[in-house]
């Protein structure tokens, strides 16, 4: 038995998503040692988790992808539960608290929490059955991202000794549902992306065995395309979505341009889940391939990351590797850590600090160049080595294979 399973909510080359990229990255890192199966659903679109891709097996770059039908997608009913969750969390909000302590315990029963998690989708009954019946085919089952039913309910289907979880946890409202805490404890150990994520995990879930494994990125430098990109631009790559802070970004940028006229543009790539404003200086490129994305990063004055929901922020680090200094929202601890540790950018918390940072940086080319360089050094030192990731994953997987305890499958 030389197989490892990685469970993730979606898997397809067209998907722009952090946890999906992480699952694929771990699959490609591990495929040289193990036969890797990615266990996922036939969904592509997070808005409804509709069954879009064919069910069954597919082989891609030496990794087997097994897709299972979604039995519970996302419906308006879930949205009503989400509104209820936000409303009820608001009642237990702790003012001025630090990440991981922003809400007191929510009076939701486990049953109600699971109703929320299941109807959020994608829930796949056949994937659950597969895990229940076939987990022993694998040395370890790595559940990627805590949020979705694939991980949450999947953790109840396999014995603790073979379950690993890569939470991709950050301080967001859903992370305060206690059901996730108990689910995470069903894993043998956690694989964290950063120390900041582990700290949030400690506050929300308590002490869990685990390691900061992180991931390695494509750090080969690209060249900007001076012919196409004559005018200077700041860049955002990723899902264009309110959860990613994009509405504030649009508002701040348009306000900034009003107050400080120049030829500066905001270039965006990714999937537009909300409309991009029709503005002469906002340039939306849609989905672009990795090469184009990295070229755009290499040519950007700054990379801007407005999201308050990051557990690692792959694109931010990719941009740093391309020597793009970073202007990041200070909501997420992990981004603050990246900036503070590297010195490769500035943090903003409101329009004033956004505009101030932009003015300060754009007026100082030498400082920008220096920040770009130290940003690249930061990524090269920490996130450039697939061997390091492989070795740490190997230790986690082999600890599962060696385990003899069978906690979690005792009969009733």
């Amino acid at each position: 038995m030389n197989r490892v399973a990685i469970v993730v909510q979606r898997c397809h080359e067209s998907i722009v998503g952090g946890s999906e990229s992480l699952a694929w990255h771990y699959a490609t890192v591990l495929r040289e040692i193990y036969d890797v199966d990615i266990l996922t659903t036939t969904a592509l679109d997070t808005r409804d988790w509709a069954n879009t891709l064919p069910e069954g097996r597919q082989s891609r770059d030496g990794v087997t992808i097994r897709r299972f039908h979604v039995t519970q997608g996302r419906t308006p009913y879930w949205s009503s539960l989400l509104i209820r969750l936000y409303r009820d969390l608001d009642r237990v909000r702790v003012p001025d608290a630090e990440p991981g302590a922003r809400f007191a315990p929510l009076p939701w029963t486990i049953g109600l929490q699971e109703e929320f998690i299941r109807t959020q989708g994608p829930y796949s009954a056949s994937l659950m059955r597969f895990l229940r019946e076939r987990w022993s085919d694998y040395r370890a089952v790595i559940f990627t991202t805590y949020l979705y039913p694939t991980t949450y309910f999947g953790l109840f289907e396999v014995p603790k000794r073979v379950a690993l979880i890569t939470p991709t946890l950050h301080d967001e409202p859903t992370a305060y549902l206690s059901a996730y805490k108990y689910a995470a404890r069903r894993a043998r150990s956690a694989i964290w992306l950063t120390e900041a994520e582990r700290r949030v995990g400690l506050k929300l879930w308590g002490e869990l065995p685990g390691t900061v494994v992180s991931m390695s990125l494509d750090t080969a430098t690209r060249q900007r395309d001076p012919a196409r990109e004559e005018r200077p631009y700041i860049l955002y790559c990723g899902r264009i979505d309110p959860n990613k802070g994009c509405i504030e970004l649009f508002n701040y940028f348009i306000e900034f341009k009003k107050m400080h006229p120049s030829d500066l543009r905001l270039v965006l790539t990714g999937k537009d889940d909300i409309p991009v404003p029709d503005h002469p200086d906002v340039d939306f490129r849609g989905f672009v391939d990795d090469e184009e994305k990295l070229r755009l990063m290499a040519g950007a004055k700054l990379f801007v990351m407005p999201s308050g929901n990051e557990s690692f922020s792959i694109v931010t680090l990719e941009a740093m590797a391309q020597r793009a200094p970073v202007l990041a929202s200070g909501v997420t601890e992990v981004l603050v850590d990246h900036i503070n540790e590297s010195g490769a950018g500035l943090i903003y918390r409101d329009y004033e600090s956004f505009a101030g940072a932009l003015n300060e940086l754009l007026s100082d080319e030498a400082r920008l160049a220096k920040m770009g360089e130290i940003g690249r050094q930061y990524v090269m030192a920490k996130y450039a080595s697939p061997e390091r990731v492989r070795n740490l994953l190997l230790v986690a997987v082999e600890s599962c294979a060696e385990a003899i305890s069978t906690v979690g499958t005792g009969s009733l």
Partner: protein, 353 residues
Amino acid sequence: MNADAISNDLYGMQQVLAEQGHDVRLFAQNSLTTEHEIGPATEIKNFLASRDDLLIYHYSMGWDFGLDLVRELNCRTAIKYHNITPPEYFVGYSKDYENVCRHGRLQIKDIAQANCDLYLSDSEYNSWELLLEGVDKSKSFVVPPFHQVDNLNRVAPDEAVLDSYVNGKTNILMVGRVAPNKGHATLIRSLAVYRAEYDPDAQLLIVGRVPDQLETYAESLQQLIQSLKLEDAVIFTGGVSDEQLKAYYLAADFFMLASEHEGFCVPLVEAMAMKVPIITCASSAVPSTVGKAGLVWKERSPYLLAESVNFLANDDATRAALGVRGRRRYERSFTNEMIATAFLQALASISCI
């Protein structure tokens, strides 16, 4: 309106047998449903004409017509025994209930000795009663009742119920008809102890209708509630829809049952499926339904039940683990799929499928 446990068992059997290609019809002496076609019992003899046909008699009360049928029909016969509440519970509340239950219990011997082809019981407890009355062990099978958990999983919970009860107060839930064998007084006294000692805001939600003729029992409970000054803390919902029932389960911190007599207790299965931790007392079929998936006490003590609530209320991890154990017991023992398998296996023993 949410159907009763025996009706759900009936519909479940009908569906499973129809899927096997059989012509299945339901008959009853009285029927209130409009959703299902139920024929008058007098037509059963016309329908079951062949020796290979099968009558399944759902036996839960005294009914001479039913007993005569299993004795006289020329086709194969099976009993589904749901147990019969001992008549003593109804003394002082309803003469009719008392009579029909007394009559039903007296008929157990006749039913057991009617030499039916099969005796299906909801629980081990029920099957023991039949075996003691002389049923041949080779004809006896435990087949838990079909239920509506799949439907509860499917429907969206009633928003108004969630609005009313997901509010930070501790909710203790009981589901079942308001009948004197269900131990409501113990539940109410437990709530009084728990509120006095630990949590003055806790409330008891009693979901289920008050059957006709049992109003005096319900009134006696109201008197108890008044004497304990719990008027605002004990809520009788009456009959509820599936959506409301689901919402009550989702709002419930604990499922508490102090029944003195149960033949199976489907709400325990619903609570397990919904991961509601169960606190109960060991009587009749309750221990075999709950297994190790709840706190099951030998004594029926309000103090013990209140202490159990307090213990679990202060121990999130144990509470969550108990919910998981319940869900697992449901998945491993009581899904409709598993019940269908047990049912069909029993029928296969008399070459009926």
